[in-house]
Symmetry: C2
Subunit: 323 residues, 2 copies
C-alpha cells in the first residue's frame, strides 16, 4: 500500500491537480472503426467544455500509409483539418490530445504545437516497443507538446522487465506523464497500488486508464486518484472497446472540484450515448469478466459478443479456461 | 486505513475463513415480491451446492399477520414447510440462512434449530430499532442458530450514534457476525474502511453486504475481504433491488479457495438469470448512481425505472439535486 495522503479525492476538500481526460471518441471509436455519425464529435466536445473536463482525446494519429481511410473514420487519423472543422481554434479551457501508437505513427504528421490545436500527445506502447515510442515522445516534446506515455498490457510483463523500462523512462525528461494502463481489465486495487508504487519511482506525474471487465474501472480510478495519480481517463457512459472504461459521469460525480458540472454529461449520455449503447455492444458482461480473470486480451470476448453465440458464457469460459 | 494482513484474498494463498453468502432469492425477491417461477429456488440451491457457496439466504421470515400471502411469494415468509419442499433435509455442505427484519418478525415463527433446516438467522435493523433487533438476536441464539446482525443505512447515521450502537453490540455475545451494509450503494473504499475499523472494535466476525449503485459493489467487497471481513454477500448476476449487489460470479472468480467452482454459476447465469434480467430491471444505471451519490434510499430511482420516464437521467438528477 502506498503512503496515504491527507487530501482524499472523496472528501469535501479536493485536489486541484486531478484532471479528467475524456477518451470517448478515441477508445469508443475502437468499437466502430471511428465511423461516428456526423455531429457526434462536436457533441462530445461541447459536453466536455461545458462540464469542465480537462482534456478530450480526439482520436488516434495513425499513419494513412498503414490504415485505410475507407475502412476507418476520420478520428483514426485526426488530421489538423478535421479537428479544426469541429473545434475551430478551440477557444475554451478544454485541452485536446491525441493518441500516437508506437509503430503506427508518421512523425511528419505531427505539426509543431504552435500550428496545431492539439495540446498533448499520448504515446501508446507495449513495453517491448519502448525505444520506438520514445522517438515519438522526443519528437512531440521537441515540437512543443505536453507528452504522456501509456505503457500497455503491463499485466503480462514480468516485474524485472517492467522495472527496467521504468528505469529507462525515468531518464527521459520529455515524458511529462506516465500512465498506468489496465489494458485487459484484469487488475484490482492491490495490483494497481503495486504499479503506482513502481511508477512513482520515475518521479513522473502519473495517469490511469482502466477497463471495466470486472466492474472495477471506476473503483481502480478512484483508488489511483486517492493515491497520487493525477490524470484520470474516462469515457461517456464508459464507451470503449470490450467492457469499456471508467464512466465520465461516475468520475465527475465523485470529484469535488466545483469546476466540474455533471448536468451537461447526463444530458449527453441520455440523448446520445444511451441510444448508441442499444445499437452497439460495450460494457461489462461475463465474457469480459472471464478474459479479465485470465489476464487475456479481450479480443476473443469481443469476437464472441459480435457473433451468434454472444451469451454462451459457459462455452466461452470452457474455451478460455482450457489449458 | 486498517492494518494490512499478510494473506491477500487476491493471491494464490487464500483465507479459508472467507465465506460467500448468496442472497439471490432474498434480495432479488425485492424486485418481484418474491414471486419467482416454480423451480427457480431449487436451481439457485443446486447451483450454490455445486459451486461450493457457503451460505444461501432463502428469503425473509416476515410475519404473515403483517404481510399478505397473496401479494407476496413464499420466500417473503420462508416457512419450514416451503424450505423443506425444495431442499429436503439439506444433505449438503451449504448452510441456509434467512433474514428476519426487526419489527416484522414473529418470534413464534422461529423454530428451534434442531427442528429446522436453517442454520443462521440474519437480523436486519436500522440503528434506531436496535433494541427490537437484539430481542430477535437473543431468541435466535437461544434456539441454537448462528446469528448475524445487519445494520442498515448506516451511511445516514452520525458517527457518535453508530459508535454507541457498536458499544451496545459489543456487549451482546449472541451476535456472532456483524454486517457492514451499504444500503444505498453510496460508499467507496475509504468509507468502507472507516466502517470496518469501527466495527472491528466490537470483536465480532464481520460481514459485508454491498450495493452496486456506483459500480462499486464488487470493489468494496474485495476491499472488505482483504481487510478482515469474512462473510461476503453476493447474488447471481448481481440480482437485487435497484442497482443490485456484488455478483456471485465475480466473487467466485476472484477467491482462490479451490472449493469454489465457477462453472455451475456461469451455467445458471446464462440459462436462468440472463433471460430474467431481460424481463426485469436491476443493475447499475444512472438514476441509481445519482441516489448513491446523494446517499439516498433508491426508492425514487426504482420508481423512475418502473415508469415511462425510466431513462430521463437529467430530469431525475434535477429532482434529486434540487435542495
Amino acid at each position: 500500500m502506498s503512503e496515504q495522503i491527507d487530501k482524499s479525492a472523496g472528501w469535501v476538500t479536493f485536489d486541484p491537480e486531478l484532471k479528467i481526460v475524456d477518451c470517448t471518441v478515441r477508445d469508443g471509436g475502437l468499437i466502430n472503426a471511428h465511423q461516428f455519425e456526423n455531429g457526434f464529435f462536436k457533441k462530445v466536445y461541447d459536453t466536455c467544455v461545458e462540464s469542465g473536463i480537462d482534456y478530450m482525446e480526439v482520436g488516434y494519429k495513425a499513419d494513412k500509409k498503414l490504415f485505410s481511410t475507407k475502412d476507418n473514420g476520420p478520428w483514426k487519423f485526426s488530421t489538423e483539418e478535421d479537428i479544426r472543422r469541429e473545434v475551430g481554434e478551440n477557444d475554451s479551457n478544454l485541452k485536446l490530445c491525441v493518441m500516437a501508437d508506437a509503430g503506427r505513427t508518421n512523425l511528419d504528421d505531427l505539426l509543431p504545437r504552435k500550428e496545431s490545436v492539439l495540446d498533448m500527445i499520448r504515446v501508446a506502447t507495449y513495453v517491448h516497443q519502448l525505444p520506438a515510442a520514445l522517438e515519438i515522445v522526443k519528437d512531440a516534446k521537441q515540437k512543443g507538446y505536453e507528452v504522456a506515455l501509456n505503457l500497455m498490457a503491463v499485466s503480462t510483463v514480468p516485474d524485472f522487465e517492467l522495472d527496467h523500462a521504468l528505469d529507462v523512462i525515468k531518464e527521459v525528461p520529455e515524458v511529462d506523464v506516465l500512465y498506468v494502463v489496465d489494458s485487459y481489465g484484469s487488475l484490482y486495487y492491490e495490483q494497481i497500488d503495486d504499479l503506482i508504487s513502481r511508477y512513482k519511482k520515475t518521479g513522473k506525474m502519473l495517469g490511469i486508464h482502466a477497463h471495466n471487465n470486472q466492474q472495477l474501472a471506476y473503483a481502480n480510478t478512484i483508488y489511483a486518484a486517492i493515491n497520487g495519480v493525477k490524470l484520470l481517463d474516462t469515457t461517456m457512459m464508459g464507451m470503449g472497446r470490450g467492457a469499456g472504461n471508467c464512466a465520465t459521469e461516475l468520475m465527475v460525480g465523485f470529484l469535488k472540484n466545483p469546476k466540474f458540472n455533471l448536468r451537461p454529461i447526463l444530458k449527453f449520455v441520455q440523448e446520445t450515448m444511451l441510444p448508441m449503447s442499444q445499437e452497439m455492444d460495450w460494457g461489462y458482461s461475463v465474457p469480459y469478466m472471464v478474459t479479465g480473470h485470465y489476464n487475456e486480451h479481450p479480443r476473443s470476448a469481443i469476437a464472441l459478443r459480435g457473433g451468434d453465440r454472444k451469451d454462451d458464457y459457459l462455452g466461452f469460459y470452457d474455451e478460455i479456461a482450457s489449458p
